[in-house]
Symmetry: C2
Subunit: 322 residues, 2 copies
């Protein structure tokens, strides 16, 4: 009753992906973006191979230069012999299923580097939270053996908070002269930031932003009680900033392990994974049972709660019979 | 396993609400806002009494004067001997559980009118969609016998579209000089508008906005094929505009009935009611089963899909046993 026709994952594609085959990765990424294979099936096949990458969320307001920051970071990571995949959520691009022109230009150097994989994902709307595909693409790159997966958010208030459920380390990017400090606090972003970046630090005011963040950090209680979020100054012209950011990311991951906090983060990530899987299953589609329930609701001969109970019972029944 | 401690609805409260007792309505509204009684229980008790009000969504950008428009409309409706309840979603107010100062001032006249009930609801964030409580408050006023329930949205892109699933008639408010026409189309709002209002029509440019809307309507295919959305000019200083708006709302409802389209709208509303009830039930809380599933996900010994199946199966099992 709830099933739609599904295309199966082509034979051997998962094996190629796990083996790190870039063309296979790109193909599966396209399937994820286009929703052309059952999400459930992809996640189920990849899941056992995931859980090894260091997943990093990069948030901050639009215009903070997150893409070029990531391009600079990718170069440093690659030079260290490690592999990084970047999932960039692009607010302006149409749902194209591929990288956008903007990204291709911004990340042109990265594109030639075999240690770097950039995939951009269109968000339908600035008001959207994080696209569900972002989590699945992250799993894809994780399973494919990348050392780092970085998720670049659009920078809306909501996706900043949502990304924290998908990552080990959250990087909050600020720039000189963009908005006051109070704004920052309001968005709740400071509670989730593990590392601060002041990007475009060649602009005047960078030191002041850094000082403002430092003084605000005194006000915000650190949920883990110990980690002191570093503030890293970066600029496209100076690779040492990106080196420092890569170091800070490594230090944060080591800290999570040393303090037995990695488990907590992994549990939070697993919880949000469970939530997404549940949401995928309970989507209310069409069919005779749905029609009947809607009829009963329209005539007020049942209540929404009883209808929901029956909907879920049938869903579970279907599972059992399969 | 999934149950939390619930407070029961006080005896006789539902009876008083259905009887139109304003203090009882206010009390139950506060329970809905504070989530202090099980939402499921409230909806279950009220549902059989709902389905009679004409529910109207009022959307449009922030600053379009939606609150004063509704105050003007309420006055006209009341003068015609009908009762109207207004659910106003307020982006700026803290989650206070009561009307905000702003509303009290804006709607001071309405507050003295026994035919008008204004309830404002804080939205946590501008990026939020419609608060789930908005739907439950609408049901409350519907069950309490109001002829009209009007939902005033914040005016974010998302809540404009979401409100269309809750209402019979969508009113889209525009003002002179605010943004270009292309913006309007992008938000997808034109496809859902049943009535256009050009508010603050005493400002220069009102006629031009009206003309722009009219010419754009030529471009957008009307999903029902017949209804020609009227464009009503309103201004705080001129009650005839509000009279025309009230007339247009009545005409739209009569049209829905005459063309057998009311049933379709009601089915759409019932579907979204079902969706909300399902979402309430599948919230992932805490408990030993959840902990166990999360453990298994962290150790990658299950997949998100299998975990979701088990979660839903236990939820349904719990229902059966109760």
């Amino acid at each position: 009753m709830f099933q739609t026709d599904l295309v199966s994952i082509p034979d051997s594609l998962i094996g190629q992906v796990v083996g790190g085959d870039q063309r296979a990765i790109a193909r599966l990424a396209t399937h994820i973006e286009n929703d052309s294979i059952s999400r459930d099936q992809i996640v189920a096949e990849l899941f056992a191979f995931g859980g090894r990458a260091h997943v990093v969320g990069v948030t901050g307001p639009p215009g903070a230069g997150k893409s070029s920051l990531l391009a600079g970071l990718a170069k440093v990571v690659s030079a260290r012999g490690q592999r990084i995949a970047i999932v960039a959520i692009d607010p302006s691009s149409p749902k194209s299923g591929g990288a956008t022109l903007g990204d291709r230009i911004r990340m042109s150097e990265s594109a030639l580097d075999p240690n770097v994989f950039v995939r951009s994902l269109a968000s339908r709307d600035r008001n959207d939270g994080l696209a569900p595909a972002a989590a699945d693409l992250t799993l894809l790159f994780d399973a494919a053996g990348y050392d780092y997966v970085a998720i670049e958010t659009v920078g809306s208030g909501q996706d900043q908070l949502e990304v924290a459920d998908l990552v080990h380390t959250t990087v909050l990017v600020q720039i000189p002269g963009a908005g006051d400090s109070v704004q920052l606090l309001k968005a709740g972003a400071m509670e989730i930031a593990d590392i601060y970046v002041v990007n475009k630090s060649d602009l005047p005011g960078a030191q002041r932003v850094s000082r403002d963040i430092r003084s605000m950090l005194g006000l915000v209680p650190d949920p883990d009680g110990i980690w002191q979020p570093p503030i890293v100054l970066t600029s496209v012209d100076d690779p040492t900033g990106f080196e420092k950011l890569a170091d800070a990311m490594e230090r944060h991951f080591a800290f999570l392990i040393a303090r037995d906090l990695l488990e907590d983060r992994k549990r939070r990530m697993a919880r949000s994974e469970l939530k997404r899987a549940v949401d995928r299953r309970v989507r209310i589609g069409s069919g005779s049972t749905i029609d009947e329930l809607i009829d009963q609701l329209v005539s007020r001969s049942t209540t929404p709660e009883r209808a929901a109970q029956r909907f879920l019972a049938e869903l579970v029944q279907d599972d059992t019979e399969r």
